[in-house]
Structure formats: C-alpha cells, structure tokens
Subunit: 155 residues, 2 copies
DNA sequence: AACAGATAGACAAGCAACTTGTCCAACCGT
DNA sequence: ACGGTTGGACAAGTTGCTTGTCTATCTGTT
C-alpha cells in the first residue's frame, strides 16, 4: 500500500507540534475576541510579548521574531493602530523609534496570558504536571538554538 | 518588573510547540531544495501527504486540512504545476476531480519523509527514544480532536 | 420523471503577513 | 571628515488563505 510507504513518523511529529500550537492559539484568539480584543491574531500576541520582553524597536523585533525589520514594522504599525503600543523617538538615537506597550496592550497580554495558562493547566491535568514540564523541557532542549518567528505565527 | 508580570508559561509552551515545528520543517525544506525540490513549502509537503492518505479531491483535502475547498484547490493547482500531482475526472461523479500523486510526488514524499525521520532520530538520540515517544503520545492526546490545517503550515 | 437540496469545483476579488528593493538619516569608529 | 553600518520609511510583490458567486452534477423524495 503505497500510502503507507509514504508514512513518516517524523512528518507526523511535525504535525503534532503544529496541532498543539493551534489547539492553544485558536482557543485563546476566540476567547480574546469575546473579551473585547477582536481582530487579535497570534502574531500580535507574540509580537507584543517580545516588545514587552525588550525588543522595543522594529529592527530588534524583527531579529527576535526572525522576520525582516519591514515585517516587524508592519506588525508594530498594526499593534499601534489597535492601541496596544505607541511609538516615540529615542532620545539617544534619532534613527530609532522606541515601542512602548500601552495599558491596553498590557491588558491584552494579561488576559491572553491567563487564557494560555488555562489551556496549559488543562493539559497538565490531562497528562500530569510533571509530564507536561518534562515535555516543555524536552521541547526547549530540542529547539534551543531557534528563535521563534512571527512568520510561524501565521493565522 | 512589568515585563515579568506578562510572562505566561502557557504562551511560552505555545511558542515551544511552534519552534519545534519550524525547527523540523525549515531543515527539511532547505534540504529538499538541495535535492532538486526547490520551492516546496510545508503546506505542499503536508497537502501531498494528505492526498496520498486518501483526501483525493479538493473538497476532501479542504476538510482534512481545515481550510476552504477553494484554498485546497489552490494548493492542488500549485502541486500540479510543480508536477507532484495530476487531476483527472472521476468516472463515477462528473462533479469531481480526482487528484493523483505522480512518481515525482512520491519521490518528494520519500525524500521529505526520510528528512523528517532524520530530524526525529536526532531528537530521539537527544532526549531518549522512549521520552520522544512519550512526548508524541502526549501531544496526540492533547490535540486529538483537532485536524491539522494548511493554514497552520504557513511558511 | 420532475424537483429541491446538497455537493464539487471554478473563478474573481480581497486580506494578512510576509518578502525584496530602494532610499535617506543618523551613528560610530578610524 | 569620511566610510561603513544601522534604523526606519516606503513601495511593490508573493504566498496562502478568505468570502462571494455561479454552474454542473448528484441524490433523495414525491
């Protein structure tokens, strides 16, 4: 059966990883919309988190997310239009625009984080907290040289 | 430190999953290009596998990948242009076009599968074969009601 | 046999999130 | 003062999806 010959446990693993990701983000996205944050997509959530974690220029965000600085700038523009960040000139470097997370952006991250944590808690209840931590540890080991990309966060 | 307040272990888990996925597919995509399969993106590989596993119409592929039948049809058109599938009328249902994987498509899946398996083997060597199987079992449990989507396979 | 509803697919247009290309201003090291 | 690098703006293009609309075909019912 030629179909079976094409089976690949490696390809199936890739799909399991992707499925896991989308199981989480789809639920969070739907729920965020219900909580007054319509139109938020995974790339917004994760870009916002990266900004808040220190990637506060378009160039830096691009590096952090492994996309071009133009793509990062576009995401920042969208976040600004939504009211989640604002931009202001860097007093020490006139080339730069500093990106700041607004209170509304913090609200988004707080609600979003709680939603992600809720999904994670259900997963911990399902397979055991220690098993989940082991899964996370393993994934961290296996991906440790990779930065995450917004391109990967495509809806 | 407000940055730390926004930390979410659930959001970090989502990124670990995505990072794992892209660690695998990026390496496979690069290597496939070296082996004469340029321009192949993850959506192509996984759509081809779904066709080969039985989703041999655009409507069926759309269901299998959780995208619209139009999106599936566009992917099939791309696969056909690349020479990985061909389409022919269904003798029993004039509405339908049956999608067949070509020998070149089988070659892509064979090479791609081996590449995915190679990455998986390295991961097994890294964390232990039984640990990897446990990780896979857990992910399968946690995502079992979800079908994987080509939208998720965005490059 | 006729008909209504469902399904498959084609086509067009639009959207989101990226890319490349180009350009200019500002900074830094020599 | 100058050359190289960096940050960002802008435009245009690409990819992979979406929605909307339409037609042909199939199926079940009457």
């Amino acid at each position: 059966m030629i179909g079976l010959m094409a089976r690949s446990s490696g390809a199936e693993l890739a799909l399991l990883l992707l499925g896991g990701f989308h199981t989480m983000v789809d639920e969070v996205t739907v729920e965020l919309a219900k909580r007054g944050h319509e139109g938020v997509r995974p790339v917004h959530e994760f870009a916002l988190r990266a900004v808040d974690a220190g990637a506060d220029t378009a160039s830096e965000l691009g590096r952090r997310l492994s996309v071009t600085k133009q793509a990062a700038a576009q995401t920042i523009a969208t976040l600004e239009a939504f009211g989640y960040v604002n931009r202001e000139p860097d007093p020490n470097d006139a080339r730069r625009k500093r990106v700041r997370v607004t209170p509304r952006g913090h609200e988004l991250m707080t609600i979003g984080g709680a939603l992600f944590d809720k999904v994670r808690s259900r997963w911990a209840a399902r397979i055991g907290p220690e098993q989940l931590e082991t899964l996370e540890t393993h994934l961290a080991q296996l991906t440790e040289r990779r930065s995450f990309t917004a391109e990967d966060l495509q809806d």
